[in-house]
Symmetry: C4
């Protein structure tokens, strides 16, 4: 890791951590991926009581090793990047910090140890390391379709939430006296969401005939409502993929413009004759 | 709120309440939105027993303040509008009345207080205030697609209801002796709806092998049936959005050919310049 | 109901019962619709114990009235139709018989009374009376799309059933010792169907970590699998509705053939010039 | 099964087992299908305790008969095929072995008998015997659409899993103290999957207001997320099926224009006769 004649050690470190073109850069990514997966496995196993009792010491040491590794990585990222403050305040920077701090805090404050579980957030780096987003991005239509749908789906979800507040309130008026779990309006709204999204835990369920009638109406409505977001995404995706089906692969011999419609005879950009 | 030389105070009031173009109109909308959200928050908190016991007086006073504000708004709306009767009998007019009356009634009749919760219906005004429907309406295709789907989905839902009545009746014949919750046909129909819509509370669940077999058939059917409303909405939306892909409405001044792509500069049929 | 000079009473009866063009035919349909809905309401109310105790006599008499009405209708249908055997063995003929017989049987055999509930099957006549299928049929594309999808969805459902048998068997091997409800393979298969279709009653739920892991895999799979029938129906519907978008409404002046493609210059049927 | 003058018995056996063109080959397929269905029925019935007690001997003998039949089939397949090793190590080869061995093992080792249930895996042969995949394959677009979707859906499912790990961890931090079933992180992740996929057993359900709030957000998210795989499959299928709508591949012999409708007799571009 010492600076060579051409690169200082800092540029080298940046190359290893932030880029994946060099062998050492690729190795770093693989090691980081394994470390993240291992750290989450350890946190998970520790939360299982029977497992924790048996292997408490092993798990504790493993977690300290990973915490120190993550700390080194965190410092290395700050040192090697050009604008350290930008990294520290970035989405991934905050997650990286959150995944190391709780272990240190647990030395000082009792009860903060379970926050180590926040390390699970580092899983989001998997997408960046495996470059999965770029993989999907290859068909940029996919992303564009999702973005176009986002606004419509946002309004749709707001409508669903308001509907659930109203329905939950009505169910509270109907069922609150029955001891069937509708003890308060927030709980009834929670039930309405559980029902409309067709999750249906059953921890709260209507007991009166009227309540069951209203619940039936809500469910049948939910059946029709769920078609809306699916329809939005489907049509948006179909639109983009149909648009790019355009089978005319000619490009104008004069101006090189492409994307001509299938029965075009003249270039739509410069007016030059096609097919010549 | 007094009449100026040009506008009487009534026109002014109408402008503030019903329009959002003036600063005071916009302010009124924002205040109303906050008041509605606050009123629902108070109603919700009051229904939570532990909260109500602690802050009963505070919640009671807040509700009276909001009730009086809503009453003033209601009267102001009636006074300022040209056809008061039309407003009073309109959808929003009825909701506005329903959200103020229960609090006054609770002074006279015991037990009507919980009807205050009907105030949640005022949440529907959020769409009008935030002009969300207009926002979606920008792509009027969305609305048109939903309207075209509505009739088909209506028939589809009627079919689902009839199916549930028949299936519920059959399950009642099979399971009623088993003490598994199918105590009456309406309850069994309720169960059929819970199952077919894939909500599945589990408060009623078949216990006999035959009942479980029928339930399995219902669920597998439900899996296929849910595809129908989604298919309807998707295809309807795709149809409209495909149709409107080409927004260029120009036609060539030389050969009158249309359907040019959005960035076309020359006619694709005769090569004549467009935009002239 | 007596024969006039032109029509025998039999033809007249046929007109009333089977057709809806005459005022008396339309009246018959409306009365039948009300009778069916009333009969189902009575059967439902009778199954609710608290209601049955109070109004037992009223319900019993009402059911006898409706049974006799249905019997008269059944006989009238047989008498007036040209091929009585064809009606008796038809789908609706069997349902009509099944909805009258149980009441008579209950006089002879004890315990057959609950079969009266089979009357719910008559609800299917609602579609015929309201002519809802013809209403949908107006867009015959809808029906054709469903038919085209049917075969694919059939194979898909067979695949789902086989998958559930295999998954249920595996879960039985994993969970049968745990007392968590997986007491036999059929029950486990039932659980697999409940899970894959995302109904999720919760009467049977995995208790071992391995069982929960397998259940998680099943659920995630179900998330992806549910996209298949929806995709089939959506694409089939979109295909037909796109096909019929063809906006060229010309018909050939020579052979009157229609459905020309949008840029057609000559009739595709007789070769005659269009646009003349 | 003896060799004739032209075919050795081995080629004959191969023809019977692996091909379905000859009557004996078709008979073999039918017998095998029945044997597989019967074997699974017996395994299922045996797992039902009340049934096993009554007919234990009958079930045991039936299973031995089927096991011996399957063993003969397995040996016959190895003997008749050209590359026995390839069959033995193939997917179906392993399943065929797994469905015979456990019964023999149960003679030596106690407790391995329940593995007989693995025989259910043979159900997958149903697709091969009934040639259902070829049936779907007729519209190869279907398969191609699924393949195109597979990669996107894979990334999507990975995203769902990571989301569930993170959400489960957060719920563990919120609910673990409440005794509401969130006893460890793996269990909480299991709950998150149960919730996001809208299965909703209800064996684990949030009890704190904060937990229910987070659960509500997860459910509303799940409502929107489920639209993504459906949208992917729908658009992929629509794309392929739209492309292939016009099956007429003729081009006019005079002007070379293509894209004629299926029943075209004359070129729509120049009016020349087609089919010449």
């Amino acid at each position: 890791m010492e600076g060579t004649s051409k690169h200082t050690w800092r540029t080298k470190l940046h190359e290893i951590i932030y880029e994946a073109d060099t062998p050492s850069g690729r190795l770093f990514d693989v090691v980081l991926l394994i470390a993240i997966l291992a750290s989450i496995l350890f946190v998970m196993l520790e939360s299982v009581q029977s497992f924790d009792e048996k292997y408490h010491d092993f798990l504790n040491i493993s977690e300290w090793v990973i915490t120190i590794l993550f700390s080194i990585e965190y410092i290395a990222r700050i040192v090697s990047v050009k604008k350290p403050l930008k990294y520290v305040t970035s989405f991934y920077g905050i997650i990286d910090l959150l995944s190391t701090i709780p272990k240190y805090l647990s030395l000082i404050f009792v009860g903060t140890h379970s926050l180590v579980a926040l390390r699970a957030l580092r899983l989001l780096r998997v997408f960046r390391i495996l470059k999965l987003t770029r993989y999907i991005g290859a068909s940029t239509n996919f992303i564009r379709a999702l973005k176009m749908s986002r606004a419509k789906i946002g309004v749709f979800l707001l409508f669903v939430v308001i509907l659930c507040v109203i329905l939950g309130t009505i169910m509270y008026l109907v069922e609150s006296e029955e001891g069937s779990g509708f003890t308060s309006i927030p709980r009834s709204v929670y039930w309405a969401i559980v029902t409309l999204t067709t999750v249906g835990y059953g921890d709260i369920a209507p007991a009166t005939p009227l309540g069951q009638l209203i619940a039936s109406v809500i469910m049948i409505m939910g059946y029709a409502i769920i078609a809306v977001p699916t329809g939005i995404v489907s049509s948006e995706m179909t639109r983009f993929s149909t648009k790019s089906v355009n089978t005319n692969t000619q490009s104008c011999s004069n101006c090189l413009a492409g994307n001509h419609s299938d029965d075009a005879k003249y270039c739509h950009n410069c007016g030059h004759t096609l097919h010549d």
